[in-house]
């Protein structure tokens, strides 16, 4: 058994995922960084960082992928796509891709990764079995101009709670983070301008959040949050969505 903790981070090449890699690495994690491609990413493979190219629309291949990765202590379901389309402009391909990457893939990743976490719990019931963090969005709770994106983010809240209820008794934490506007390509290029303007009107600091700010919340959930914190959704919105 390795002496270090291993974290699998999806969507790791850029944006929030890239910042999560740095935050977890600084905390001593070894990282398996997964993305569709690493073109333009500054991530470089090393003894503590493995780069895995994988298309998360391939749901059927996820079990074999996870089996090939070895021990995973922490799973960060960060990968997501936002087509940025009005409902009348959606194509079947865009809808199916959003549903696959944002919903089906993280469910299958949790299902498969949690199997080894459950085995660890059976072997060492008092030890840390594993932690899972899912990236949702304020889109889960608000009307959204990209309807299918909002549907997938609401679904992430749902499966976070379902898995927390199922795995919590075995010492596995499953939590989610719901960011507001964060300075990423997804917000700056993919999101519809009216959506961005709507969010920024309500933000107290009048600025977007940084990927590093969000990454600290993910790191805390992955490493330091008390075990009793489970099935929770932490809003990182600076006032753009209050509940």
């Amino acid at each position: 058994m390795p002496g270090h903790r291993v974290a699998l981070v999806t969507g790791a090449a850029r944006g929030i995922g890239r910042a999560i890699v740095d935050a977890l690495a600084a905390d001593g994690f070894h990282i398996v960084a997964l993305d569709l491609d690493f073109e333009g990413s500054d991530l470089v493979e090393s003894g503590s960082l493995a780069l895995v190219r994988y298309d998360l629309t391939d749901i059927a291949g996820i079990a074999a992928l996870v089996a090939s990765l070895g021990r995973i202590d922490v799973l960060i379901n960060n990968a997501g796509v936002q087509p940025g389309l009005a409902i009348d402009d959606y194509t079947e391909a865009a809808r199916e891709r959003a549903l696959a990457v944002n919903l089906k893939a993280p469910v299958e990743l949790i299902r498969t990764v949690s199997q080894q976490m459950l085995e660890r719990h059976r072997a060492h019931p008092s030890g840390a079995a594993g932690r899972i963090v899912n990236l949702t969005s304020v889109a889960a709770f608000m009307a959204h101009t990209d309807l299918w994106y909002g549907v997938t983010k609401a679904g992430i809240v749902s499966f976070t709670r379902s898995f927390a209820a199922r795995l919590g008794p075995q010492g596995i934490q499953v939590n989610a983070v719901a960011p507001g506007p964060i300075d990423t390509d997804m917000l700056n290029k993919a999101a519809q301008p009216e959506r961005r303007a709507e969010l920024m009107q309500r933000v107290w600091s009048h600025r977007t959040g940084t990927p590093q700010e969000l990454a600290e919340v993910v790191r805390w959930l992955a490493a330091d949050a008390p075990v009793i914190l489970n099935g929770a959704v932490i809003d990182v919105t600076d006032g753009c969505f209050l509940r």
């Binding site: 709670r161 927390a164 209820a165 919590g168 008794p169 507001g180 107290w204 600091s205 959040g209 940084t210 590093q212 700010e213 969000l214 600290e216 919340v217 805390w220 330091d224 949050a225 008390p226 075990v227 009793i228 914190l229 489970n230 099935g231 929770a232 959704v233 932490i234 809003d235 990182v236 919105t237 600076d238 006032g239 209050l242 509940r243």
Partner: protein
């Protein structure tokens, strides 16, 4: 405070808690410590639920 609750109320809360146990003061303190020291500026005006499924929202 928790110990003073009627048993029926405690049983009701425990039925929905994933771990089947009450939270310790130390666990709540862990969350408070992070909020007071390392949580990012952009996390503002929110309520951090530490209830293990007793009240998901």
């Amino acid at each position: 405070m928790y110990e003073q609750l009627p048993q029926s109320r405690k049983d009701g809360v425990m039925r929905s808690v994933y771990s089947g146990r009450a939270c310790t003061p130390q666990e709540v303190a862990q969350a408070i410590l992070w909020l007071g020291s390392a949580s990012p500026e952009y996390m503002n005006g929110m309520t951090l639920d530490v209830n293990n499924g007793a009240y998901p929202r």
